[in-house]
Every structure is written in C-alpha cells, then in structure tokens.
C-alpha cells in the first residue's frame, strides 16, 4: 500500500484517487479468470466465458465467483458446470474413450509421418543408383527454359 501511494504521488496529480477494481477480491477475480478462459459461453458463437458479455455468461461468471468464494476446488466447479451443460462447456475436452483419438491423434500422426519418412528414405537409398539429377534431366530443363525464351 505504501508503495502504491508513493507511485500515485509520483505519477498523478495530487487529487487523483486510485480507481477501485471491479471485483471485490482480486484473488477471486484472478481465479475466475483462469477458469473462465477455458470455459465456453454456451449462447455465443464461439467465445469464452471470460470474454463474453452475454447475460448467461454473466450469470455463470457470478455462479463461478460464488463457488470460488465458497472455496470449492477447480474440479468441483467444473463438475458443477459439466453436470448441467455437458462437456460442451469445456474448451479443453476431457480425455475419455470418445476423445482418445483427438488427444492421441496428433502424436500418432507425427510418429507415423516420421516412420514413413525414415522407411521411404531407406528404401529410396537402395533404389537410387547414385545419379543425382541425371545429366539428361539437366539438359532437358535447360532446353525447356531456353525454348521458352526463344519462343517469346
């Protein structure tokens, strides 16, 4: 507080008063924020609970704020919402049988891609006798390029 007052003294005109935060308790607001950015506003097109100004989003924020004040854990708060609105409210889909492909997919994709690349390169190395781009192909490219020039 002393530091804050000092800042004000240095920075603003003497009569300036410090504006009050909107929420009563900054700790609660901070937790609300971290929770709300991962929750979906149900009525909006595609917005988080934190960003939306829809009335339902405001109601739900109020509800979550009250649960935070009651000292409920994040999991309890999330369960509260999921039991009413389903997994749809969660922007981070929970890992369950139906979402396994979603969560594992990207890494399977990467693994398959990496293996395919290694296998393809190995197989290729055996097939290609060392003829970089063949001389013939060089000539063809050059010929094609120069043909174009002549034609124009």
């Amino acid at each position: 507080m002393i530091w804050l007052a000092l800042m004000m003294l240095l920075s603003g005109p003497a009569w300036a008063e410090e504006a009050r935060p909107l929420g009563d308790d900054p700790v609660v607001e901070a937790r609300l924020k971290t929770l709300a950015v991962e929750l979906r506003c149900l009525v909006c097109q595609n917005q988080t609970l934190a960003d939306s100004n829809a009335p339902l989003a405001e109601d739900l924020r109020r509800e979550v704020r009250e649960m935070i004040v009651k000292n409920m854990s994040d999991q309890e708060i999330i369960d509260f919402l999921v039991s009413r609105y389903g997994d749809f409210v969660l922007y981070r889909p929970p890992l369950k049988s139906t979402t396994t492909v979603l969560w594992v997919g990207p890494f399977v994709l990467l693994a398959v891609g990496a293996i395919a690349l290694v296998v393809a390169l190995k197989r290729r190395g055996q097939k290609v006798a060392d003829a970089a781009i063949t001389e013939e192909e060089h000539r063809r490219v050059e010929q094609l390029l120069s043909e174009g020039v002549k034609r124009s």
Binding site: G12, A16, N46, D87, K150, S152
Partner: protein, 663 residues
C-alpha cells in the same frame, strides 16, 4: 440495368470458363495446337468479364442501389463510401464474387508470365483453373447470385455488420483471398504435370515463385485478420483457434510445407510425388475453408450467414475437385521417378522432416477443428475443442520444427555429418541456452514456457548468423558489402523469413509471459496503474459518427509523471442494426501496447474499464510481415528473372542462369 449487365457478364464468364476448361485440356491430350491456343485468350476474356461483373456490383454499392438484394442487405445510405465498397465482400454472395475475381486475376497473371512454358503445359494449367472457375461461377449463378433484384426496392439498406465497419475489412479479405486462391496456381501446375506426365524438376522450378507469392499474401492476410480481431473484438486476444481462423491456418501450414518441399524437388529432383500431393493439399484446404465458413457445420465468431443448400453445393464441388485430383494423383503418382539420392542427414532430409512436422501440425489443426463434428455425426455427444487443446498439441509439434529450422540451412545437400553440424552450431546453441535461461530472470519472471520461447527465437537468430557468416566466406568479393551483395536474394529471403518466425515467437512469448490486465471501476479524475503506466480517466462525452453515436472516454496516460499519450476508447451504437460495439483505444509501441476499452456506464459518470499492458505484442504481426518480406526477397531472385523479364534477355543468358543454378 447495371446489375443486369453484371449478371450477364457472369453468365458469359461461365460459358468462357467452360470453353477454357475443356478445349485446351483436350487439345493438350491429343496434341491439337489450335485447341490449346484457346486457353490464353479465353482466360483473359474471362478476367475481363468477371472484372465487369465486379465493377457492376461496386457501382451498385457506390450508387446505393437498394433494388439489389445483396446491396440492401449489407449496406446503408449512411455508410461511408469506402465501407460501402468493402461491403462488396461483406457477406456470402459478394465475397464469392471476390473469390472468383481473384481467381481470374491469377489466371490473367499466368497468361502474362507463362511464355516460357511449353504450350501443352500452359494449356493444361489454364484449363484446370478454368474448371475451378466453372464451379464458382455456377455456384454464384445458381444459389448465391449477388445481383438478385429486390422488387420493390428497399427504402434503405440493412447496413453492414458494425463489426465489419473497420479499415481491416477493406484490406484483409482481399489479401487473404489472394493467398487462398493463389494456391490454385500451384494446384493447377500440379494437376497439369500429373495430366501431362511431366512431373520433373522444371515443373518444381516453375511452380516455386507462384507458390511463394500466394504464401506471402496468405501470411499477410492471416496476420491482418489477427490484428483486426485484436483491436476490434475488444478482449485483447489475437488468435482464438476458432474454426474459421483454423480454416485459414491449415492452407498456410500446407503451403509452408509446400514451399520447402518445392525447394527439394527443384534443387534435387527428389520427392516429386510428395510435393505434388502438398500442392493439391494446399488448395484443397483453401476450398475446405470456404466450405467450413459458409456451410454452418461449425460455430464460429467469423462465420457467414449460413444456408444448408449452399453447404451442399460447396461440398459437391469439393468432392469433385479434390476427389478428382486425388484420384488422378493415385493413378499417376506411382509412375513418377525418384530423383537424386540423398542421405537421411542432409539438407533434403531435414527439409522433409520439417515437412512431416508441418503436415502433422496441419493434421492436428484439422483433427481438432473437425472433431466436434465427427463426434456429433456419430452421435457420441457434443464437445468443444478450443485454445487449451490446440496450445497443448501445437507447441510440442512446433518445437522440433523450429529446432530443425536452425540446422537445415547449414546442412549440405546430399549428405551432412552430425558431428560436423554440432561443431559448427555449438556456439549458437550455447548462446541460445544461456540467454534463454538468464533473460527471463533479468526480466523478473522465470517460467519454463518463457524460457522455451526465448530459446527458440534466439536459436533461429544465432543459427541464421552462423549460416550467413559461413556463406560469406564462400562467396567472392573483397569488401564485406560486396560479399553481402553477392549472396543470392533467395538465400536472403530464406534467412529473413526465418528471422520473421523468431520475431513472431518473441512476440507470442513475451505477451504470454508478461501481459497484465485490470478491470476497474473509474470515476472522473480517478487513476489506475498498469505496467508502469498511470491512466487517468477524464470523463466520457457523446460524439456522433457518420452512422453511429458513441460515448467517447478520455484517458490521459503518463509514465513517471510525464504524459505519454491520450487515449479515446469508444462505446458505439449503430442504430440501423441496433448493435453496440466496443472500440478499444490502443497506443501502439515497439515494446508494448497500451489497450483501453470501455465496459458499461455505471452510476454518476463512472465506467467499468478494462486495461491491458501487452509487451511486444506488435512483434507477432511484425514477424508475419517479415516472413512475407522474406518471401518477396526470394521471388525477386535473379534466377526467376528469365520468367519475368524474358524480353530483355538473350537465349544463352537464360541457359546460363539455369546452368549456374545447377552447378
């Protein structure tokens, strides 16, 4: 009358597109020169016709012709002229016309810069583009006619969505579409090569500049869209992994992979089959994006008003174009030769590994975007896949890609040695690790992600410096300047584009690590402090815009007692659509943005106010522009010039250029 001319021009364009799509391709197949020669004039004529249609629609908007349904639906007599013109692409029908118009621009460009191509190849390319155009013209003429009349005429229009009344609207969609549609050229080159069976290094050489240009447009287009969302949506975010954002990002990832894969094919003749698949993929994903945005299968902040009939049309079109090309690919690709050999650890190998990572990233974005739809279609419930998902799968895929980005340019073609590379890079690595570990501590907030981000950014820059230094020792020239000048432009382009990524990463990392925000209730005269800056609220007053009324707040910002700037955020009300818009005020700076947006008026002149201090955020978009600049440098390289300025050169010079490159 004018709208009818526009409509008629579209019908004529469809006829021309049909001719352009059928005769030259057939002519190329049977070797009939007369049929092939139709392609060029047809493409130019089509361009003129679509230009006419576009001009007619622009005229209808400029003249406020509310007897045209589309004009009445998306503009208003109070709307300023520049937004009326931007309203051309403000909704589905007109943006489709923009799509088609840009497609014909690219076609026209191909007719200008393709004199060096064999006749058959050029005919096939223009033919394929003509066929794509047939689909879009047919779409417009059947279910999305922008010239449809409204009888009796509306007394006034329903106005452009206030969200779109922004300078970003004027420039962002054309840029983005130039990118999307630009990939149609690479696509057409690929299909032409598959049809003709001449998938070779020359094909890669010819496709490269076109792909790079499209990629540059797309990069800039996406960056502009992101910047626009940042200041317009009022919550300070710059990327939300929204389906429509993803729809633009997927072609970008595929396009980026394509740019790199084309390098391998061009220089070493290798992996043609893969490159051609990427070319098909990049454009297919652009088309898929069009479907996602317009069909209403996914919910998005940016989606167009949707209509299942349109969705069905695009899906059928998608199935024909992409399905057809992939079938052609399956048929022709097995016969394509292999090209030069190279070892696993080599420049080629690393470019391809990078390709795998980029494509895996693209696949993840696709999976995440469509997964809710998959589950719903299988009746397994509804879920949301949002930023937390994408952040947690995307970052691990990009980290190795960026690591490789530093090594790749140093590795030799054909075969590189790991110990040698490690030796050359040890300083870059050491410097990166040490500074990544210490910098956050100096800045006062050490988190693993912050360190990782800085590590990657510094790694890119230091390795680029090592690369450049080594390069300079290999080129001739006595002074440093001379040697710098003799490094090819395409090489500079690569380095610049990579450094763009570094700048981008710094932006993302610093914003994530150090941004602060505050929600306060401010009375007149009250102050609040955020990130060294003190904001004093000097009250709000009413102002009147051309087509809105607004409450405009005044905030004096000072730092250490000195006034920095004054910000004027607004809360606007657009009466026609009765919509409230939050217009944030932003003080942009190289090292930080100050962002103020007005919430709601409270009692006795106080307002709820949201303030952000966002360090380095402009580096995010700056990085994208630098990437695009790299692309521009690359295509200005001397070796592409025979294609652009062929008239001025003698034949041997072009051959010489080709030889130099292969030497």
């Amino acid at each position: 009358m004018i709208p009818e001319i526009g409509h008629f021009a579209l019908i004529l364009a469809l006829c021309v597109a049909l001719v352009q799509g059928i005769l030259p391709i057939y002519g190329a197949a049977v070797g009939n020169a007369a049929l092939m020669s139709v392609a060029k004039p047809a493409a130019r004529l089509q361009f003129l016709l679509v230009l006419t249609a576009f001009g007619c629609l622009a005229y209808a908007f400029a003249a406020m012709d509310f007897s045209v349904l589309y004009v009445a639906a998306t503009s208003n007599s109070q709307l300023p002229l520049h937004y009326r013109l931007a309203a051309i692409w403000g909704a589905h029908e007109g943006s489709l016309l923009l799509w088609t118009f840009i497609l014909t621009i690219w076609m026209f460009a191909v007719t200008l810069f393709s004199a060096h191509l064999p006749e058959a190849t050029r005919s096939r390319i223009l033919g394929v583009m003509g066929l794509v155009s047939v689909g879009f013209l047919l779409f417009m003429l059947t279910v999305s006619n922008p010239f449809e009349r409204l009888i009796p005429a509306a007394p006034d229009g329903r106005d452009l969505n206030p969200l779109l009344q922004d300078p970003g609207m004027v420039i962002h969609p054309p840029m983005l579409y130039m990118g999307y549609v630009g990939f149609s050229v690479a696509f057409a080159f690929a299909i032409a090569a598959l049809l003709g069976g001449n998938l070779d290094a020359a094909w890669a050489r010819w496709s490269r500049p076109w792909t790079t240009v499209a990629w540059c447009f797309l990069t800039v287009g996406i960056a502009m869209g992101s910047g626009w969302a940042y200041y317009e949506l009022g919550w300070g975010g710059w990327w939300f992994w929204d389906p429509v954002e993803n729809a633009s990002f997927m072609p970008w990832l595929a396009g980026t992979a394509l740019v790199h894969s084309l390098a391998v094919t061009d220089k070493r003749g290798g992996f043609k089959v893969w490159t051609v698949l990427l070319a098909i993929m990049a454009f297919s994903l652009s088309l898929l994006g069009t479907f996602l945005v317009r069909s209403g299968v996914l919910t998005s902040v940016h989606a167009f008003a949707t209509d299942p009939k349109r969705g069905l049309f695009i899906l059928a079109f998608l199935a024909i174009v992409i399905g057809g090309s992939l079938a052609l690919y399956a048929w022709r690709a097995p016969r394509v030769g292999l090209g030069g050999s190279f070892a696993m650890v080599s420049r080629e190998g690393m470019l391809l590994a990078n390709n795998v990572l980029l494509v895996a990233a693209m696949g993840s974005v696709l999976l995440g975007t469509l997964y809710p739809l998959f589950l719903d279609a299988l009746d397994l419930g509804k879920i949301s896949v949002g930023p937390p998902y994408f952040d947690s799968v995307f970052v691990p895929l990009m980290v190795p890609a960026i690591f490789l980005m530093g090594i790749g340019p140093l590795a030799q073609w054909k075969k590189a040695s790991v110990p040698d590379l490690a030796n050359r890079l040890k300083w870059a690595f050491g410097v990166s690790v040490v500074s990544a570990l210490t910098l956050p501590i100096v800045m006062g907030n050490w988190t693993p992600l912050l360190s990782l981000g800085l590590l990657l950014a510094i790694w890119i820059v230091t390795t680029a410096l090592v690369t450049l230094r080594e390069r300079l020792t290999h080129v001739t020239g006595s002074s440093v300047m001379e040697r710098l000048a003799s490094v090819p432009r395409s090489y500079w382009g690569m380095l610049v584009a990579h450094c763009g990524i570094a700048v981008f990463i710094v932006g993302v990392t610093m914003v994530k690590g150090f941004e602060t925000e505050k929600d306060v209730r401010m009375n007149v005269g009250e102050t609040t402090t955020i990130g060294d800056y003190t904001f004093r609220f000097d009250g709000a007053h009413d102002v009147k815009g051309p087509n809105y009324t607004a409450a405009r707040g005044t905030f004096s910002v000072s730092r250490d007692g000195r006034e920095t700037t004054v910000l004027y955020p607004e809360k606007r009300r657009y009466p026609v659509q009765n919509q409230i818009m939050t217009e944030a005020a932003i003080d942009t700076g190289l090292l930080r943005d100050l962002y103020v947006s007005l919430g709601e008026p409270l009692d006795d002149g106080a307002w709820s106010v949201r303030l952000y201090h966002k360090p380095f955020i402009d580096w995010i978009w700056g990085g994208c522009f630098i990437m695009a600049l790299g692309g521009v440098l690359a295509i200005s390289d001397r070796r592409y010039r025979p294609a652009w300025r062929r008239e001025t050169q003698e034949a041997p010079a072009a051959v010489e250029t080709a030889r130099r490159k292969y030497a």
